[in-house]
Symmetry: C2
Subunit: 392 residues, 2 copies
């Protein structure tokens, strides 16, 4: 059901002809039918933010949006004034085909694909027009929407959750160029709860910080990352604030986890959990350092529980970022303590690497109790194949 699980939304995913892959759907339209038109968003921190990111930041600042256009097949990044003009024209075209209730400034835009090329605007317009005519709120429409935003993704990624008297649904695309902060991805989460734009923004910011901000496929931050939360209020239910925030965080966590499960060429999902830290920031820095190690990621691909590559990555974190004594550090891989007090522990032969999911648990051994979890993928021959051949 994806983005139409919540009441008050319709969607469509169609082919406009932007993507060079024959038959690939490449335009998604999501429409909020109200009665509320609340919108919140979180975007890439990349300084070469794509034109649609620059534009949509402005829309989200108003706290309100009625529709969103997403295209795959082109990122519209590093395209200058002309690229920005293309976004405005796309929003205007969407508003015109959606009818007199819609103004340009009600329409969010997001793009994904190759950097540095303008969009074929005719194909974008054709897709938007077709999508506006195909809007629906059923299972098939939700599925088509999630498919049309895919690029190197191998499967659509969606989530549905139930609050007390209200619903939440979502979809995400993302597979490569995935790194904190925010992965290279575009995500739309919808809810029929009655919430203010302030609560929506706060819930989304918090929810992304421990999910999309804590995954790393390849250490590369995109120019186009966009996460949007839309609320229609159609349930008529004003949610408990804590429950609502928890539900948004759960939706983000589910979608982020699905990105890792579909990481380009990956054969293992790796969960790096760091405990015994003096602060969350220290634990997070350690988790990120370990999850960014190409050598470790290659070893995991080779089913080698190579703890030497875990601690050598950990050792690159500056002391002023994460205080710990190397002699107090333990590393467990899939439950086996392979490194104990900075020295060899149990034999790595005892570690089973048969499962897709690999758990690396690091205890820094300080007096602190802070912890953080980062997810990453292994580095495989297929990752190199995909990224030596694919232009993005």
């Amino acid at each position: 059901m994806s983005v139409v699980y919540a009441q008050g939304f319709s969607t469509a995913g169609v082919r406009g002809g932007i993507s060079s892959v024959p038959g690939k759907k490449d335009v998604t339209l999501v429409v909020n039918e109200g009665p509320l038109f609340v919108a919140a968003g979180v975007f890439t921190a990349n300084r070469f933010a794509a034109a649609p990111v620059q534009y949509s930041r402005g829309v989200v600042a108003s706290g309100r949006a009625k529709a969103m256009v997403i295209n795959s097949g082109g990122a519209n990044a590093c395209t200058g004034e002309t690229g920005l003009a293309q976004v405005y024209e796309t929003a205007a075209h969407a508003a015109s085909v959606l009818g007199s209730d819609f103004a340009s400034e009600d329409v969010l835009v997001a793009s994904t694909g190759l950097i540095g090329e303008l969009l074929p605007l005719d194909a974008v317009f054709a897709g938007v027009t077709k999508a506006a005519g195909a809007l629906a709120s059923d299972e098939a429409a939700g599925q088509a929407a999630a498919e049309a935003i895919m690029t190197t993704d191998t499967k659509p990624k969606t989530v549905t959750l139930d609050g007390t008297g209200y619903r939440m649904g979502g979809m995400v695309k993302g597979s490569g160029m995935i790194a904190p902060q925010l992965a290279t991805m575009i995500s739309v989460i919808t809810t029929d709860a009655v919430v203010s734009s302030e609560l929506a923004q706060e819930a989304l910011k918090t929810g992304t910080s421990t999910s999309f901000d804590c995954i790393d496929v390849d250490g590369c931050m995109s120019t186009n990352d966009t996460v949007i939360l839309l609320a229609s209020g159609a349930s008529g239910v004003e949610p408990d604030v804590d429950e609502f925030k928890a539900l948004v965080a759960q939706a983000c966590a589910s979608l982020a986890r699905q990105i890792i499960g579909d990481g380009e060429g990956s054969s293992h999902d790796i969960r790096v959990r760091v405990t015994g830290a003096e602060s969350y920031e220290a634990a997070l820095a350690c988790g990120r350092a370990v999850s960014a190690s190409n050598l470790l990621k290659c070893a995991i691909y080779g089913n080698d529980p190579n703890w030497g590559r875990v601690v050598s990555s950990l050792g690159t974190v500056p002391e002023d970022v994460a205080a710990f004594d190397p002699n107090n550090v333990t590393v467990d891989i899939n439950g086996i303590r392979v490194c104990d007090g900075g020295k060899p522990g149990q034999s790595r032969e005892l570690v089973s690497m048969a499962e897709r999911e690999v758990h690396i648990d690091i205890d820094l051994g300080t007096s602190g109790t802070a912890e953080a979890t980062v997810w990453t993928d292994d580095l495989t021959l297929d990752y190199v194949h995909i990224n030596a051949d694919y232009e993005s």
Copy 2:
């Protein structure tokens, strides 16, 4: 001639039986015959510094050393008190077989290989004894020394340089786990110039900062990086300070460049030069961000001059680290301006990727004139093969 090009040095590279590769030479001995016994060193910044690094830091602090033992086949890292005891025993054994002129504290030790396992000390001792009996100052000895320090390296890497009335020689091993600060490598540079330990240390520190500190094969910092400069004074010539420092820098640059040329599985050497920056640090941060991009490195492997992956990496450098306006940035790949003012420039079709060496020239377009150069390799199928199968 490697480390014996300078007068006053003898060396040997032999098999002690540490390495699991049949017949692989794995113990190198370098002896400074004086009359000076000056030693300087630069070591890894990794907090899990290997036992030989911890030990040799202390030797270098005295400014003096008469010999150095290097073993491949085992890193002696994360091996605790027992590992440290092994280093002391190795130094003591070397001193005893070298004769009554040598004390334990005159002997430097360096190791490279798998992290987290103790060394087979019998094999180390056997190698040191054999090497002490094979010491020579000829071409063959210099070559054998450079071969015995290799691990995944495919070729020995050496340098010889002439100062005014004195000589300098050197060797290095390093191929993977190569990242700033300092690559995973072990290097010995020798000279017969008459220099103080203070000048030696200063020259080495400066020389490594623009060479070994500016290469990155895979973003992974090792536990064992060691660069040693030994001076015998055998030429009797006290060098011009500036010339001497320039010569040390040139030796470091040559050896560092050779590491990139032999980067694990690499098919392209990539020079990332950043100009138009407000400071060297800003330029260096930009160069490192670009050279660390897995996506860019895969693209170069695929002979794709993908400037979108250059600017998306550049865009991850925080503004307070490197001030620049994305709209003023230009990117040339092999002489073709593919990105001009943050937008598409000339067609990427014009870029020839036939050569092994790839030049990426980035101008940040600020009013500053600072610049920095970082070298890296492409990310290839062979890199993944090597590191999924090899334990380090």
